[in-house]
């Protein structure tokens, strides 16, 4: 009984999802051509109005995925009206110049297709999966709302209620989501672009006006700030033609590029504790501000992916041995996502196993982090992590949504397509020394917060 949602998701696909071909090519000299085959073999070009078009052709089944990514997410929400990017995503279904309110989804369904949208901190994306002969229809309708949505005033308040119900369902009724929200605010500050919830604080959702939304649209939703990705059963010549006939009719316009601004040098709160009347387990979180593939010392980005796997990538990782196999915690892990706009985080989390003490768990986490900085990781650990992270990379070909999500997500934050097409090769080039250098540089960052969610 799947309920369809227009969801606010924070993590789009991190590149690291699987494994790959057995070759381990020696890294050639500097602007080295890639020795691996690209995963999707995608092509890209631009229309005269600036819209970037990407095609990942696959004629396996008579279906296509059609995605439009805007280079604006909740991180672009103006001060005081956090949540406008996400609320607007909802209102984009309420009609545009030549598409009456509600007809978009109704017509897609009538053709047997599926449509939805999502907002992350970095992007807002709209997508449809349809039989390939229906591609022209969804391109016309999506282009029509890129040209100008109505944000119908008569439907504005009911949709605001829907967003508030969404917030109650996905944040306030879930103790761990609620804690995660408070944690981010504690670390970065309630009004920092990284400390605000994607869906927005309730009082700010209530403050958003239609004029605010029109202003956000006008500043961010220009063709030049968008990436169209089509994957599946369509030939390049046909897509070029369809793109010109639809999106190509939209005039170029100026837009406000992403500008995330500074990050704080110290956390708003170095420590946070929250209690919940419905939770029974104590869980620990620690996050440390980190560079990403787009921000700061970007050379640490790939090594940090490896470091996170060595420390907390499931069974066999350091935290799994030190906390889970020792019986101190029920679960433990580490995470890092390089593919974000602006600063990222390196994070650790663990769920305490009774009757151990919080102090015992936290001491072990701190000791493991210290050990990484002082002694580094071993060659064997790095080789294992790279092998396990890349082994299933080609599984991404077995599904319609993987190509557009990975390609669109990366391009919309300014990464080159090769970071997706050749990510296993890039990850395999990471050395032990690079991982250790990243650990020494990042794990001691003073912008860090630790926190506990506790049973009441």
């Amino acid at each position: 009984m799947p309920l369809t949602r227009r969801t606010a998701i924070s993590a789009a696909l991190p590149l690291a999802a699987g494994i790959a071909a057995a070759e381990a090519p020696a890294r050639a000299q500097q602007p080295a051509p890639f020795t691996s085959r690209p995963i999707f073999g995608a092509k890209q070009w631009r229309l005269a109005n600036g819209l970037r078009v990407v095609l990942a052709e696959s004629h396996r089944a008579p279906v296509v995925a059609h995605y439009v990514f805007y280079g604006a997410g909740s991180g672009e929400d103006p001060q005081g009206i956090g949540g406008v990017a996400h609320f607007m995503e909802h209102m984009m279904f309420k009609g545009s110049g030549n598409v009456p309110s509600g007809d978009f989804s109704r017509l897609v369904a009538r053709q047997g297709g599926q449509d939805n949208a999502f907002t992350s901190r970095d992007v807002t994306a709209y997508y449809q999966h349809v039989e390939s002969s229906r591609l022209a229809l969804v391109m016309r309708m999506e282009a029509d709302r890129m040209a100008g949505p109505l944000f119908n005033p008569a439907e504005f308040e009911a949709e605001r209620s829907v967003v508030i119900e969404e917030r109650r369902q996905v944040v306030e009724s879930q103790p761990r989501s609620k804690f995660r929200e408070a944690f981010d605010a504690a670390m970065w500050g309630r009004q920092h672009w990284r400390g605000r919830p994607i869906i927005g604080w309730e009082e700010e959702i209530r403050a958003i006006s239609r004029e605010d939304m029109l202003a956000f649209f006008s500043a961010r939703y220009a063709p030049g700030n968008a990436t169209l990705v089509v994957a599946g059963d369509v030939e390049e010549a046909r897509l070029r033609e369809l793109a010109e006939q639809t999106y190509g009719l939209i005039p170029a316009r100026a837009f406000t590029p992403r500008n995330r601004g500074e990050i704080p040098i110290a956390p708003a709160m170095p420590r946070i504790e929250q209690t919940s009347p419905v939770t029974r387990e104590a869980s620990f979180s620690r996050a440390i501000a980190a560079p990403s593939a787009t921000w700061g010392e970007t050379r640490h980005a790939w090594p940090l992916e490896v470091l996170a796997h060595v420390l907390g990538g499931g069974t066999g990782s350091r935290l799994h041995r030190a906390l889970v196999e020792s019986g101190i915690a029920v679960a433990a892990g580490a995470g890092y996502d390089s593919d974000v706009a602006g600063a990222s985080i390196f994070s650790v989390s663990a769920t305490l196993r009774a009757p151990n003490t919080r102090e015992a768990l936290e001491q072990i986490v701190e000791a493991e982090l210290r050990r990484l900085v002082q002694d580094g990781v071993t060659e064997a650990e790095v080789a294992r992590s790279i092998r396990q992270t890349t082994a299933g990379a080609m599984l991404a070909l077995d599904g319609l949504g993987a190509a557009p999500r990975m390609l669109g997500g990366a391009l919309a934050i300014g990464l080159p397509m090769e970071d997706v097409e050749h990510w296993p090769e890039k990850l395999r080039a990471v050395t032990t020394e690079q991982v250790n250098e990243a650990a020494r540089a990042v794990l001691v960052n003073p912008l860090t917060t630790a926190g506990w969610l506790l049973p009441a």
């Binding site: 309920l3 396996r60 598409v99 369904a109 297709g113 282009a143 109650r168 919940s276 077995d398």
Partner: protein, 426 residues
């Protein structure tokens, strides 16, 4: 701005949906296969009747915990060696037990398929259940059970099944106490009753030929003991109960609602599917979504559909709303439900629903994992490949009167309702 944005006039007619399913019999095992060599990936899904249905009262969670242990070490491989073998080769191998089935799932690149098959066979024939691993996985399962009840939605789900099927395995679920009390011997006994060569249903899709699948079936399942798992008890009619309120500290209540549904062999099965698609199907165009979400802003999502358990469908729906507006939403839900039962669909609604259900078939079978999962679902409901092939024509032949007749069954029993949260005025 874009001329004729919504026009469907120039679209070519849709190609007829075809899925070349082959039925393979090998060593007493039946498997369905859709071969597709275009991408070097193979997916396999398999299941038996059983799962939680075979757990005695007081031993709830036995099969779930037993199946979770299958990938925690087998044969010569301890849990770490087993996990590394799978992850080193990018293999996804999972086992699980539901209310009435136990199942396995495998996906791998072609080059890793032999290793995947070796690990799957080891897991099913020589699971270790080493004491430290059982202790660790049991602790995780106990926490999982508690966390499932943290949210109003989880609490509503638990309370609904308990109220709807009291005294039946469908109404029972694992608790921290039942999981804590399960001895290792009980898990082994459960596994040996479940992991059998008979009663097994297998679906395969992707880059695998018929000959390769035959060899795989022999290697993976051939050494399982003969004799099917114990038969499932039949599902009694849903108990009649007044709305149940499960108190849960939260700003929003979760509502779960349901009724008895048809048998998969019922001649009105597809007419009922169409009626429920119109009433509460996925997407944004159902009556429930339009009237409860789009017009009133009462909920983020509301839907209803058929869920087959113990060989019979139940109609189940779910929605969440502000504690203060639960009564208002329930009144609206009952009105929309009764309206569908009384008046049936309009001709336009019927055409839209049939177009969707037919048009969505190519998307439901677009990759190897979805194909294998879809095939296994068909097998579990006792369908044949011909049933799938004939479905578009049967759906297209349905009339407004056919669907209205099926929809009238929605009024033959009261809608059972469970609310979890802090609802006002119930």
């Amino acid at each position: 701005m874009i001329p004729n944005a919504t026009s469907t006039a120039g679209l070519p007619p849709r190609a007829p949906f075809r899925l070349p399913i082959r039925i393979i019999q090998e060593g007493g095992i039946t498997a369905w296969l859709v071969e597709d060599q275009s991408v070097p990936v193979v997916s396999l899904e398999w299941s038996w009747n059983g799962g939680g249905a075979l757990d005695a009262p007081g031993q709830e969670g036995r099969m779930g915990l037993g199946f979770a242990m299958l990938t925690e070490g087998a044969g010569e491989l301890n849990h770490l060696a087993f996990t590394d073998a799978a992850r080193d080769a990018g293999i996804s191998l999972q086992f699980g037990a539901g209310r009435d089935t136990a199942s396995g799932s495998l996906r791998a690149l072609s080059e890793s398929l032999p290793e995947a098959v070796r690990l799957a066979r080891l897991a099913m024939t020589a699971p270790r259940l080493d004491a430290p691993d059982l202790d660790r996985v049991r602790a995780r399962a106990i926490v999982g059970t508690r966390q499932a009840l943290e949210t109003p939605r989880g609490a509503a789900n638990r309370a609904f099944w308990a109220a709807a099927f009291p005294g039946h395995p469908a109404g029972r679920a694992a608790t921290p106490e039942s999981l804590a009390a399960l001895p290792r011997e009980a898990l082994l006994e459960g596994l040996s009753g479940q992991l059998r060569r008979d009663g097994l249903q297998v679906a395969a899709a992707g880059a695998i030929s018929e000959a390769e699948l035959r060899a795989l079936l022999r290697e993976m399942f051939g050494t399982l003991p003969a004799g099917a798992p114990a038969p499932l008890p039949s599902l009694p009619p849903m108990a009649d109960f007044a709305p149940v309120v499960a108190h849960k500290a939260a700003p929003q209540s979760s509502v779960m609602f349901g009724q008895d549904g048809p048998l998969p062999a019922d001649p009105q099965w597809e007419a009922m599917q169409v009626a429920l698609r119109i009433l509460g199907g996925s997407g944004f165009s159902s009556r429930l979504m339009r009237r409860v979400r789009e017009e009133r802003g009462l909920t983020y999502g509301i839907g209803a559909g058929l869920d087959v358990v113990f060989g019979r469908a139940v109609i189940l729906g779910q929605a969440s709303t502000d504690n203060a507006r639960v009564a208002e939403m329930l009144a609206l839900l009952r009105e929309i439900w009764a309206g569908m039962a009384a008046d049936g669909p309009t001709a336009e609604e019927l055409a839209e629903a049939v177009d969707f259900l037919n048009g969505t078939l190519p998307l439901q079978f677009a990759d190897s994992r979805r194909i294998a999962g879809g095939l296994l679902g068909l097998m579990q409901n006792g369908r044949s490949p011909a049933w799938l092939e004939g479905r578009p024509a049967r759906l297209s032949a349905l009339t407004v009167a056919d669907v209205a007749a099926a929809a009238r069954r929605l009024a033959t029993a009261p809608l059972r309702v469970v609310v979890a949260g802090q609802p006002v005025g119930l």
